[in-house]
């Protein structure tokens, strides 16, 4: 448990440090853009000094961590507002969109994956076709087409879940693909044939013997897809014109608003780490066979 926790903390620290360094590789800063063409060159210098941007990168890094550990994310260079305040305004919309997309995706992916992996005949083939198509079409194109065909409905607040449904279709395809493949693998396993041979019904074989080990890779993919959707909101929010974290991240990177980018990345990284950790725990509980392996792996 302790090495796992240490590795997690190391991951978070590395991700944040990478972001800090990467952002400062871009020449210029937000203040220069604000004071471009200004008659008073000293004003920009004064502002930099007030925000601590005149210090060496190392000093900035130290004070960044000192602030972060106190829960202080700094102030936005562009608007002067505290980053926590900006984030509190933007996160609910993004969380709502990602959360409801994942609900659609899990329901769709689980049912389609079940049909594709356990079913027979044309229904199974249709379910497999769905996941193949969902993977072959970029979600921003589906979104554009949906706006074209269902444009009027998007304005209607009764259909506010429509964007989530469209994104969910694509993530659901990924889940169905993984679930279907793992069910197909397990279907031919010896213990499933034994279960059939001793006269259990289809439903009992599926529920009691096949489902649990088949779900292990699915849980992992659900966690990864959630993280993927979180960072993919840059595009979805642009297309559906929702003021969420994605658009904020794009504007902050392009405007070199370091504290805002760093604030978003802190939350994204911690969420990602928590999701994968929770998924690993789920897998550990679902499939006893990986328990020995994973502990041997950790010891090696």
């Amino acid at each position: 448990m302790i090495p796992r926790l240490a590795a997690t903390l190391l991951t978070v620290w590395l991700a944040l440090t990478l972001t800090f360094v990467l952002l400062r590789l871009v020449p210029g800063d937000a203040i220069a853009a604000q004071f471009e063409g200004s008659a008073n060159p000293q004003a920009a210098e004064l502002k930099r000094a007030a925000l601590g941007l005149d210090q060496t990168p190392l000093m900035q890094y130290v004070s960044y961590w000192a602030g972060l550990l106190r829960g202080d994310f700094g102030v936005s260079l562009a608007s002067g507002l505290p980053v926590t305040e900006i984030l509190a305004q933007r996160w609910p919309s993004t969380l709502l969109l990602t959360g409801s997309s994942m609900v659609f995706a899990v329901v769709l992916g689980a049912s389609m994956g079940m049909i594709a992996g356990w079913g027979k005949g044309w229904t199974a083939r249709l379910a497999a076709l769905y996941s193949a198509l969902a993977l072959s079409i970029p979600s921003y194109w589906t979104a554009t087409l949906a706006l074209l065909l269902l444009g009027r409905w998007f304005a209607n607040p009764a259909y506010s879940l429509l964007p989530a449904a469209i994104i969910g279709i694509h993530s659901g395809g990924v889940i169905a693909q993984v679930f279907g493949a793992s069910l197909r693998d397990i279907r031919t396993a010896d213990y499933i044939r034994v279960a059939h041979a001793k006269g259990l019904s289809q439903r009992a074989v599926l529920g009691r013997h096949a489902l649990r080990p088949a779900l292990a890779p699915v849980v992992m993919v659900i966690a990864l897809q959630t993280g993927y959707l979180m960072s993919g909101t840059i595009i979805t929010e642009m297309i559906f014109q929702r003021a969420g974290v994605g658009l904020l991240l794009r504007d902050a990177v392009l405007g070199q608003d370091y504290p805002v980018v760093q604030g978003i990345i802190v939350i994204l990284t911690v969420l990602y780490v928590m999701l994968t950790f929770a998924a690993e725990m789920c897998v550990w509980w679902l499939d006893p066979r990986v328990r020995d392996l994973s502990w041997a792996d950790a010891a090696a």
Binding site: A15, L18, S231
Partner: protein, 256 residues
């Protein structure tokens, strides 16, 4: 492999012949015939600057497929080697795994955005901005694909009879990993194609005016509600390419 060669030949012919097949100069603007619906003269209509959509998708295929193809190939090459090194040598894993997990936790578009603003927007930085965020993903995927293969008895047997790590990887792991890598190549290609398009949507993918399917989708976003042909053609071609490549890679495999 025959199917692959056939598809490649058809694509290469279309791409190379684009200058001959295209009825118009893809860059020529003509505001008097802007957003013209498809007719006998402009088979796929014109965009908001009056440029011929058919000529632009033909020319655009050159840049689009080159970017996605070279990014996918390079990312696959580096990622597979890295993934094999990670599963073969515990030292490598202990040193690099934290960095790889950290890169996985960062949004890939953030990395691409920063790289493109640092290096400027042209062809080479675009391809690099697609590769860098993808390599950890490929390495991680390959590593988890190797895990069940490495548990086989013949791997243990080979190791205990004195084979070196790289020999086990080359002669026991790689032949069993190959089919997976082949299937994964198709998925990777589609991801690179989509990611390049996403960068174009953010206004970072292309150079001004040079035709590219992603850039065409981005341009069409302003006018697609009354001129849907501007986004239908490049989008359909993208989907067609992805379906074609994956079909070929998977079909070959089923035949063995």
């Amino acid at each position: 492999m025959r199917r692959l060669m056939f598809l490649l030949t058809v694509c290469m012919t279309l791409i190379l012949l684009a200058p001959r097949l295209a009825p118009f100069d893809p860059m020529r603007t003509d505001t008097t015939s802007a957003l013209h619906p498809p007719d006998a003269l402009h088979l796929l209509g014109t965009d908001h600057l009056g440029r011929d959509v058919l000529s632009r998708v033909l020319y655009g295929s050159q840049r689009t497929l080159f970017v996605a193809g070279s990014a996918a190939t390079t990312a696959l090459l580096i990622g597979v080697l890295l993934g094999m090194a990670l599963s073969g040598w515990p030292v490598v894993r202990r040193l690099l795994m934290p960095l790889i997990t950290a890169l996985l936790a960062l949004p890939s578009l953030l990395l691409a955005l920063v790289l493109l603003t640092v290096w400027g927007q042209s062809l080479a930085p675009l391809i690099a901005a697609l590769i860098v965020p993808q390599v950890p993903v490929v390495a991680q995927t390959i590593q988890s694909a190797i895990r069940p293969l490495a548990a086989a008895d013949y791997v243990t047997a080979s190791r205990s009879s004195g084979a070196a790590r790289h020999q086990v990887l080359r002669w026991h792991i790689w032949p069993n990993l190959m089919p997976f890598v082949q299937r994964y190549a198709g998925i990777l290609f589609s991801q690179m194609l989509f990611q390049a398009g996403a960068l174009s949507l953010l206004g970072l993918g292309g150079e001004v005016g040079i035709p590219d399917w992603g850039a065409m989708l981005a341009d069409g976003r302003q006018s697609f509600l009354y001129a849907p042909w501007t986004v239908l053609a490049p989008g359909l071609l993208m989907v067609g390419c992805v379906v074609g490549v994956n079909w070929v890679l998977n079909r070959d495999q089923n035949r063995g």
